[in-house]
Symmetry: C2
Subunit: 353 residues, 2 copies
């Protein structure tokens, strides 16, 4: 049975991935976390210009290592667009940075769109996909879950209207407000991530690509006890972690990529290797690659030197780690390039499109 997709979505997804169908995408859409990191480097509140400048430096020096760059329409696009090479795809964030806690329960999180920004502007600006980040906990209140689900559906519908691919990222959080870097949370994480995958791969969300957290925490994985990032106690073994990835892949009806959540590069590369060997189609990663450049700001020469040196090596190593990843068109959603057909075709395509 051929799988169908619109011409616009197909053309744009092709631009996000490499020729081999694997995603090696860079995120530079951080806003709140970037402002904080710059403030901590300079000792003063970060200005708009400083955030835009830091993003421009990252985009200019690192984009050519990637198959696509994710930036934001506030600090990113207006200053970085000229630094994204012609053969590198472009994604723009749709959500306001962070989350709001009005109208949801204690410790719960609701995502909202950037005010005065919409999908029509996004498609005009020449991008290849919309990225939406939502914070999601499957056991949050019905109210909180509904809000995030409805927002996601709205964005999915808008993207479908313009044939813009929809990349959905979800990040889980702790409902008791505790750290997500605890043994307790590490134990919950596989279940939280996989249940979220089950929810947002439902067809009503009209998502095209999932950007997911690694469904475990290698800081609490037995086989990593000699690594710098090991937390001192174990929640699972490596073979259990591989099973979590396989379970995620079995439940995902869509191609999925891994995010870095700002972990150190050594841990991220392990995440990429394990997920790539178990069904992922690559990564969309920012901080793990470039975060150590920010403390050098505002010394632009030092920032650039770091980005061209250590960060570029980080990127190359991350790229090497996707060699086993599943090309998006070979994911079971598509079943191979030969199995893909346009949803509309034939001699009246231009009339019915």
């Amino acid at each position: 049975m051929p799988v169908t997709i619109s011409g616009g979505k197909l053309r744009r997804i092709t631009r996000l991935a490499g020729e081999n169908g694997r995603f090696r995408m860079m995120a530079a859409d951080q806003r709140g976390s970037m402002q904080k990191a710059i403030a901590s480097a300079t000792g003063k509140e970060a200005t708009y210009e400083q955030v835009a400048e830091m993003k421009t430096l990252i985009t200019r020096t690192l984009s050519s290592n990637s198959t696509a760059v994710l930036t934001d329409p506030i600090f990113g696009y207006p200053y970085s667009i000229m630094d994204i090479p012609r053969d590198v795809g472009l994604l723009l964030a749709f959500e306001e940075s962070g989350y709001v806690d009005d109208g949801v329960g204690e410790n719960e999180r609701a995502s909202v769109q950037i005010v005065n920004w919409d999908i029509e502007k996004a498609i005009r600006s020449g991008i290849d996909a919309i990225k939406l980040l939502i914070y999601y906990h499957p056991d949050a209140s019905l109210n909180a879950c509904n809000h995030q689900q409805n927002f996601t559906k709205y964005v999915g519908e808008q993207c479908e209207k313009f044939d813009l691919p929809f990349l959905l990222e979800f990040v889980c959080y702790s409902l008791d407000g505790e750290s997500t870097n605890s043994l307790e949370f590490a134990k919950q994480k596989p279940d939280l991530v996989i249940r979220s995958v089950e929810e947002f791969t439902k067809p009503e969300y009209k998502v095209d690509i999932l950007k997911v957290e690694f469904p475990a925490n290698l800081k609490f994985t037995e086989e990593y006890k000699d690594w710098d990032f090991y937390a001192g106690e174990s929640a699972y073994t490596l073979s259990e972690v591989e099973e979590f990835c396989q379970d995620l892949d079995a439940k995902s009806t869509l191609p999925w990529v891994i995010l870095s959540a700002g972990v150190d590069i050594e841990e991220f590369i392990e995440n990429v290797k394990i997920s790539s060997a178990n069904g992922a189609s690559g990564f969309l990663c920012g901080r793990a690659i470039w975060k150590d450049a920010v403390p050098l700001y505002p010394d632009k020469d030092a920032v650039t030197k770091f980005l061209l040196g250590e960060a570029t090596v980080n990127f190359e190593n991350s790229n090497a780690a996707v060699s086993n990843a599943t090309p998006w068109f070979n994911h079971k959603r598509f079943g191979g390039l030969k199995n893909i057909e346009l949803d509309k075709k034939g001699e009246n395509w231009y009339e019915i499109y």
Copy 2:
């Protein structure tokens, strides 16, 4: 003084040209001429499927030599879209093939849009530019000129609305219905082409890139008298031809590329070399490169062999001929990459875009 351009147009123009800013674009949007060529190869009227198949073979085998591919939304897009590599730009034709002669004077030509096709569908389909071909003679009746000018303005406005680059092609014709390959027409051609350039580079047309005929006919150029294509008599010398190109370039306020109008490859490569040395930014060419494949249809193996062999060599030679071309961003319209700014920028870009 910085020159401004919208982010959407900038991003998409970047994808049409090579990294060096030179256009090496392939046309495969022929419809009427392709139907005739196939009919003449098979001895029967060409079916929709045959035209679509021939275009798919051309696009599949040759696209990777180009910086962008121009196809049409009837026979081209629905069958060829999967064969255009991720790093090759995409243009779609807006006009109905050929021309109509209703409502204009004898021998005059009016262009019309493809019915039930529009710019909104075009942008959704993921393209990087609209191409409009109009037949134009600056001495045609006011009625005929107005029709073509108004149609061009309409398309320019629509493209601006969606930040889609607008590539305008104009082809001149003989008002007395005689052949355009005569000595007489060869003498008129520089004037016809250059006056059309003066008209359509006016800002009200909102054109971004001009696709122009070579402003002379090398078949009637003294220095080519030993070449196979020489017509036996001369209208000008090579240095006069170079001056026509320089005059065109001086009068064009926009980057311009050369079309092939189906001349043989030897003549086309001379056209490209001379125009590239005198201000052109490259070519958008179809038949000169691949036309000899069509008589081999329906023998698909023979067609493919020709396209991968001789046509590929034609493309490589054409590509080599643009080495002196002016990068689009160095055209006087822009004055260099460093001189280009977004028309809207700053911290409220996402609100005002």
